[in-house]
Amino acid sequence: MKLAMRVFLAALGLFLGAGLARAQTEISFFYPVAVGGPVTKTIDGFAADFEKENPGIKVKPIYAGSYQDTIVKALTAHKSGEPPVTSVLLSTDMYTLIDEEAIVPIDNFVATAEDKAWLASFYPAFMANSRTGGKTWGVPFQRSTIVLYWNKELFKEAGLDPNRPPATWAEMVDYAQKLTRKDASGKVTQYGVQIPSSGFPYWLFQGLTTENDAMLMNDAGNEVYFDKPGVIEAVQYWVDLSKKHGVQPAGIAEWGTTPRDFFEKKIAMMWTTTGNLTNVKTNAKFDFGVAMLPSNKRRGSPTGGGNFYIFKKSSPQQQQAAFKFIKWITSPQRAAQWGIDTGYVAVRADAFETPVMKQYVAGFPPAAVARDQLQFAVAEFSTHDNQRVTKALNDGLQAALTGTKTAEQAMKDAQREAERLLRPYK
């Protein structure tokens, strides 16, 4: 009897549910996961909360793999005519998405004064990668910068002040030399510093060029400056860490295993994303610090991470619903929650004024380092035909770091290749 009743209710629920769904606007939403932690759970929670507050809209979050997997899925879907309504993709994919005519400007939906205030609330450093040609194409969501993590224990052992990270390039070399240890046979057992160089070395490299006050590209994304002296100097500094000073492992350092190297005390300092903060906090068995990257001519780091985009081939009704969802999920409370759960930088200043974030930062000051660095941050390297131009730069950097080319030769070759690729976009 009880069972029959339950079955009946379930069937009724399904029936009504299906009926309601037809009256609802459904928005599909692709998202990638690029850092550790229960990201999927947080996103599903957000979607459920949003649906509760907005009964007319149904959000269907779809986990789509890495950033690369997600753009492959989103663009393939776009080409077959059925793209997601909205998706989180790399901020640097903006030009690619525009060139494919896959997305619409966010400005199309900004109508009220409240909308305008919302769009103006994001950190300008994050908006640099979200605007081009006078239009806004993306909304910052999971964004990061590069920071320096250091092992306080090893600093103490080396006779350094454990609470004072290196502030300049020269200081970083000096510290790293003191932190590099050799055994009796002359084999290095612990390196001073590691800047990962596999996969996407251009991103970490942009930290170096920014600090050397050199730009890698123009705002229009159709010119690059790889062979300028300031850029070549930055390559040389990176190469010298291994080659001249011997304070960094030779060859290419794998991005994925760099945090592990740090946990194993094989390196005393590492450069990596703030998105790893929660990971390091959980896994480092020693006292560690987080600092802004050291400066040379100035401080600096590129931003990184993903933006929300709205796809062109969905209905106006769906686009409006997606806009509402994006506005909702980037509100101060939610931005703060997202930052705490993942380690990403909350994308707007007022998120740091929320009680929950204030409390978190008070208990864990490293959480504020990336935010403080934002004032020195620049737009992540991004051009038309982005992946190809980036590959030219990556190949050049890896050639210099593995010693097959000099810094100058590697950058000249990369420049020539990039100029060839960018010719159609002038």
């Binding site: 492959v72 084999k187 492992p249 290419i252 190297d261 194993e264 035909d385 992946q387 990556n394 593995t402």
Partner: protein, 296 residues
């Protein structure tokens, strides 16, 4: 007369109907894509509003001037030469070893076959840590013998060899199964006869076992060659083609061009080269090797 004809006709229709499901699938998922790819390789990549136009051989001309294509091709050749003979040799050795009368041979067979069963992505992640400098498995072993530290995957000289080792490890157990099956089919009379004639074990192996295994060897060889061009999962996980394209294989490069650069036309042209290469190798094998293969 006419009754005979109509019976033949019905038999024909019957035959074709039986072939139809498989034929449809083959045409839809194999032959049509090949032809479409071939045609696409003569057109430009559509970009937004700019549609696709006929460009003739431009994509192929671009290929000839593309240094990364040549590097990927060369890498692939080294990769094939490095993996195929060793993995087949090893497979044969292992098969003979576990075909003998030894204690715990089921466990040994299972152990040899394990790499084949494990998912490639998981395996590649494990190997990534084997190769890690300073505290990876190999580093720990080598440093015990006083060998200086080496960044295996981070150096252009060693990265391809490292991938070859993973591929051999993965493939040998799979090929062993085929050899083992062939060895078990072999009549024990042959060994007895050879023993009576006083042939040494080596002579028996060289003159009897090996020739009888030739059909298996041909099959395994075809598979090994295809696999050396087809498997790139571990490149994605372990090196992403780096450093500086030193471990980029042809199929990985096609993936990059097609799904990272979104240049589908050029990717189509590259795919045609891969197809042509595999077709030539297959034809060559069946034509030339057939003479050396004795089917019973």
């Amino acid at each position: 007369m006419s009754a005979h004809h109509s019976r033949r006709f019905i038999a024909n229709v019957h035959g074709w109907l039986l072939l139809l499901p498989a034929a449809v699938l083959l045409v839809l998922f194999t032959h049509y894509p090949v032809i479409a790819t071939f045609l696409r390789s003569f057109f430009s990549t559509p970009k937004g509003a700019r549609g696709s136009v006929f460009v003739g051989l431009d994509n192929y001309r671009q290929m000839i001037e593309d240094p990364i294509f040549w590097q990927a091709l060369t890498n692939n050749a080294f990769f094939a030469v490095g993996t195929i003979p060793i993995s087949i040799g090893l497979a044969l050795l292992m098969a003979i070893w576990v075909n003998g009368r030894i204690a715990g041979k089921s466990w040994l067979r299972l152990a040899y076959f394990t790499p084949t069963v494990l998912p490639m992505i998981a395996v590649a992640n494990i190997w990534l840590f084997f190769y890690t400098p300073q505290y990876g498995l190999f580093e720990q072993i080598l440093s015990a013998f006083g060998v200086p530290s080496h960044n295996f995957l981070g150096s252009k000289d060693t990265v391809l060899a490292c991938l070859i080792v993973v591929a051999i490890w993965k493939e040998a157990g799979f090929f062993m199964i085929f050899y083992l099956a062939a060895l078990q089919q072999m009549s024990p009379n042959l060994a007895e006869a050879a023993a009576i004639e006083g042939a040494s074990r080596w002579t028996f192996f060289r003159r009897v076992t090996l020739p009888l295994l030739m059909p298996t060897t041909l099959f395994v060889l075809v598979n090994a060659i295809i696999n050396s061009f087809r498997l790139v999962d571990y490149v994605v996980v372990m090196t992403r083609g780096g450093p500086d394209n030193a471990s980029s294989l042809l199929l990985y490069y096609i993936y990059e061009v097609g799904f990272k650069f979104w240049d589908s036309a050029y990717a189509a042209a590259l795919t045609m080269v891969l197809l042509l290469l595999l077709a030539l190798l297959a034809v060559g094998q069946f034509l030339f090797m057939d003479r050396k293969v004795h089917y019973r």
